[in-house]
Amino acid sequence: MIADRIYRFLLHAYPGEFRDEYSRDLVQLFRDNLRDSGVLGTWLLALNDLIRTAPAQHFDILRRDLKSAIRYFAAHPGFALVAILSLALGLGANTAIFSLLNATLYNDLPVRDPHQLVSIARGGLGDAPPFSYPDYLDLRAGATSFSDLIFHSDVYTLKFGRGAETEAAGSEFVSPNYFETLGVSAALGRTFVTSDAREPVVILSDALWRRRFAADPSVLGRQIRVNGADLTVIGIAPASFHGVLVPWSTAAWLPIELLPRLVEEDAAVLTSRFSDCCGVIGRLKPGVSRAQAQAEIAVLGRQLAAANPRPRADRRERGWGELHLASMQGVVPQFVRARMAMLLAILMTIATLVLLIACANVANLLLARVAERRAEIGIRLAIGARRGRLIRQLLTECALLTFIAAIATLFLATQGPRAIAAFSPYVIDAHLDLKVFGFAALGAILTTLAFGLAPALEASRTDLVSALKENRRTGARAGRFGFTSALVVAQVAASFALLTGAGLAARSFWTLSGAYPGFDPSHAFLLRFDLGSKHWNAAQQGVFLDNLLGRVDGIAGVRSESLTTHAPLEIVAQSAPLELEDDAGQVWLDAVRSRYFETLSIPMIAGRPIEDRDRANSALVAVVNTTLARRIWEGENPVGQEIRLGGATRTVVGVVATVKHRFASEEPAPVAYIPLSQAPATDLRLVVRTLADPSNVIAPVLAEFQSLDPDIPVVQVQTMAEHTAASLGPQRSTAGLISLFAILSLALASVGIFGVIAHSVSRRTHEIGIRMAMGAHRRDVVRMVVGQSLTLATIGIAIGALVALGAARFLKGLLYGIGPADPFTFVTIALVWFAVAALAAWLPALRAARVDPLIALRCE
C-alpha cells in the first residue's frame, strides 16, 4: 500500500533505535486506523503525532548519551582534561583572532545608524585627506541629500599639560556638528554646539580622562593646557567612542577653528582653498538613496573644481573635481587596514593550524579509547545495537568535549584580544558579538566532526567476531595504527612548519635588535619638547636654544649635546621634494644643530658637519648621507655640489654615514641634514651623549630644562637604548605572537606523539614480552620504542620542512637579514623536534623495558 510506504518513510524522523523496536507496530496501528477512521483523520493524527513525539525520542537518547559520556569522562579524567584543554586552546586561539579580525574589519562605528554615514572621497587621490575648509563650507551649503555634513581633521598630535607633566596624544579638530550628526552624546557634560566653533573648549576621550585625570568628574569646567592654550573641558566622550578614525584612537576633540591657533605651522589652514587637511563625512537624509547623493555630490564636485582652479603645479590635479561617496572604512588610510588585515590573516592561518593539531590530538586519543572499548562495542553490536546509534553516541561524547571546551573558549575570546590589542598601537574594540559567537559555534561543530568522525566510524566498523575473540590489549587491527601514525606525522609536520615560521620571525627580530642602526645608542638619551606654545620668533627661539645647549653642556657627565627635528628610528619624519635636472623624488629632511653627528656617533665620510657658523643669514648648506650621495653623484665628490631641496638651493658641505632613519628594517633611505637655524621648527629633540650611564644624567638635565622655562611641554624623555628597543615594538609583538602559537603547537603535538607511543607500547606488551623472552635486552626495547617515535618525527619534519619552504614566501615581509629557507632555523627546529620526539617516547619506552616477560605472556 502506498500510504503504508509513505508512513514508513516518515518514521525515519524517529531515532533508529525506536524505529527498530516499534516501526512494525506503528505501521500496524496506522493500518488499523486507516481501516477504522478514514484517510484524512488518520493522516492528521499520524502527522501531528509524529511532529510532537519524534523530537522527544531524540532528546531522550541525547539525555542518555550525555549521561553515559559524563560517566565515562569522570572515570577517565586525564583523558577528558587533555582533550578539553587541547580543544579549548585551539578553538580559543581561533575565536580570539577572529574577534580581532571582526573588530578591525567589520565593526561599525558605535554611532547612531552607522549605515547612513558615508565618507566623501575625491578621485585620483591616495590616502591624503582631500578637503579644505572652504571646500567643506561650500559642500555643506550646496548639498541637499544629507541631513548634515561633518568636517574632521586628521589625527594631530597635541601636547596636553605643561612642563615635564606633558603628554602627547592624537586629537581631532572637528566641526561643531560632529557629535550631534554622528549621534554620540557625552558620557559626562555636553558635546559641541554651534556657538562653540571658536570657543577654547575641548571634549576628552574616556581613555584620556581616566589616564590624566583619574576619571575625576570635577574636571568638567576646568581649564587644561593644550599646546600652550588654556581650554575648558566641556564633556567626556563615551568609552566606546574612539572617533571616526578608528583604528587610530582620538584622545580629544576640539572645535575646528582652534586648529590655526593651536598648531602654528597650519595658521592658514582654514582659509586656504588648497590646504587639504580634512575629511568630510555625511549622514544621508532618510529616504535619500546613495545613488541620488552620489549624483548630487558629483555635480557639486565639478562646480567646485570649476570655480577654484588648482595651480598647474599641483600634481594631484587629476580627478580633482570627481567627488564620490565611499564607505566609512575609507576614512582610515588603506595601508593601515591592509597591514592589519595581512597580520591578522597570518595569525588566523596559524591559529587554524593550531586548532587542526589539537583536533588530531583528540582524534588520536579517541582512537586509542575506541581500541580499548572495542570489546564493549562488540558486545553492544552483538546484542543488536545499530552502527548509526554507536556513531551517534560517540559523536555526542565528542560534542560534549567540544561544548565544555567552547565555554573555556569564550573566556579566551574575551581576554585574548584584549591582551593582543595591548600590543597594538591601534584601538581595537574587540567584544563578543553575534558574529564572534557564531564563529565559535561553527568552529565547535566543525571541530567536533574533524576529530570525532574518524574515531566514531572506526569504532562502528568493529568486526563482531574478532572484537569479542580478541584480547583488549592486542585489539587493534594493523591498518588502524597506520591512520593514527599518519595523524601524528601530520601534527609534527604542521607544528614544524609553524615553529620554523616563528623561528624565522624571532631570528629576524634578534637580527634587527642586534643590527647596528648606524648610530651608537648606548650612553645617549633623548628629550622631546615643543616650543609651539611660546609663539617665539626665530631669533627668540635661537636665543633659548643656545642657552639650553650651553647649560646642558655644563652638566657633569655630559659629553656632547645637540638638537634635531627628528631622531633616528622615529617613524614619523619630514620629507621634502628633491628636484634634480632629470629626476625628482622625496628625500627625508632633518634640521639639526651643531655637534649632532658627533653626539649620535654618526661617522663623517667627507667634508664637514653642520656647525655653529651655519646661521639663518649665512649660505644655505646641507649634509647628505651616503645613500643620497650615491644616488645623485655616483662616483663624484658630493662636497661642493648644489642640491635643490624643497624649493631652496643648498650647497653640500659634508657626507655622513647612512643610519636607520625611520625603522630598523628599512632599506637605506636618502636623508639630507640642514641647519636648524635655517629652517626653524618648534617640535624638537635634545640629544645628549653622556660619559657613563645616561639614566644618571637625565634628572639633572631635566631639572636644568625646567629651571630655564617650567612651562615648555616635555613630551618624552628616554635613553637612546630604550628608544631603539621601542622602535622594534611591532616586530617584537609579531614574533612574540607567532612564537606563542608555535610553542602551543609544539606542546600539543608532543602530547600527541606521547599518547600514540604510550598506547602502542601498552598494546605491544605481549609482543615485547616475547621479544624479551627470546633474549632481547632492555636497551633494545628502549631503542625500538624511541626509534618508532623518531621515525614518525622524521617523516613529519620532512613534510613540515617542505610545507614551511612553500609557505615561507608569505613571511618574506616579516623577515629581516635572513632568507625564508634559513638553514640555521630549520636545523635548530628539527633538532628541537627530535629531542621532543625522543623525550615523548622515553617514559613509554622505560615502561616497555620494565615488562616482565613472564607476566606479559601469562596475562594473555
Binding site: 524517529y14 525506536f18 523496536e21 516499534y22 512494525r24 507496530d25 506503528l26 500496524q28 496501528l29 496506522f30 488499523d32 486506523n33 477504522d36 493524527l45 499520524a46 501531528n48 503525532d49 509524529l50 510532537r52 513525539t53 519524534a54 522527544a56 525520542q57
Partner: protein, 111 residues
C-alpha cells in the same frame, strides 16, 4: 523507587495503564479503549513512546504468550504488580481530589 514517586501520572500514561487494568491488550486495542472511555485519541508515536517508557520503568510488561492466536503478529502488554500499585495510587489521588472538589461544591450539577 516507591510507587509514590511516579505520581502524578501524565494523562496518556494513566489512560494506558487504566486500559490495561482489566485486560491484556495490544497497541491498537489500548488506543481504542482510551478513545472509547475517555474520548482521547492517542497518536501512534505517543502511544508507543509511552509504552517504551512504561516498559523501561517496569510498570507494564510485554507478554511472551499471545492470548489471541489469530493475531500473533501483535505485541500484547500487561500491567505489572508495580504498575497496578501505581495506577491505584493515582486513582486514589484523583478520588481524593474529587472528594475535595465535591466538598467545595464544585461537582453540583450545572444550573
Amino acid at each position: 523507587m516507591t510507587h509514590e514517586s511516579f505520581l502524578p501520572l501524565t494523562p496518556a500514561v494513566f489512560h494506558i495503564l487504566l486500559a490495561l487494568a482489566d485486560e491484556d491488550r495490544h497497541g491498537y486495542a489500548i488506543m481504542q479503549e482510551v478513545l472509547r472511555r475517555a474520548g482521547i485519541t492517542l497518536g501512534p508515536g505517543t502511544l508507543y513512546g509511552t509504552i517504551k517508557r512504561l516498559l523501561a520503568d517496569g510498570l507494564i510488561a510485554e507478554l511472551g504468550d499471545r492470548p489471541d492466536p489469530d493475531n500473533d503478529r501483535r505485541r500484547y502488554y500487561r500491567l505489572t504488580a508495580l504498575g497496578r500499585r501505581v495506577t491505584s495510587a493515582e486513582a486514589r489521588r484523583m478520588a481524593e481530589l474529587v472528594r475535595v472538589s465535591r466538598r467545595k461544591h464544585l461537582l453540583e450539577p450545572a444550573r
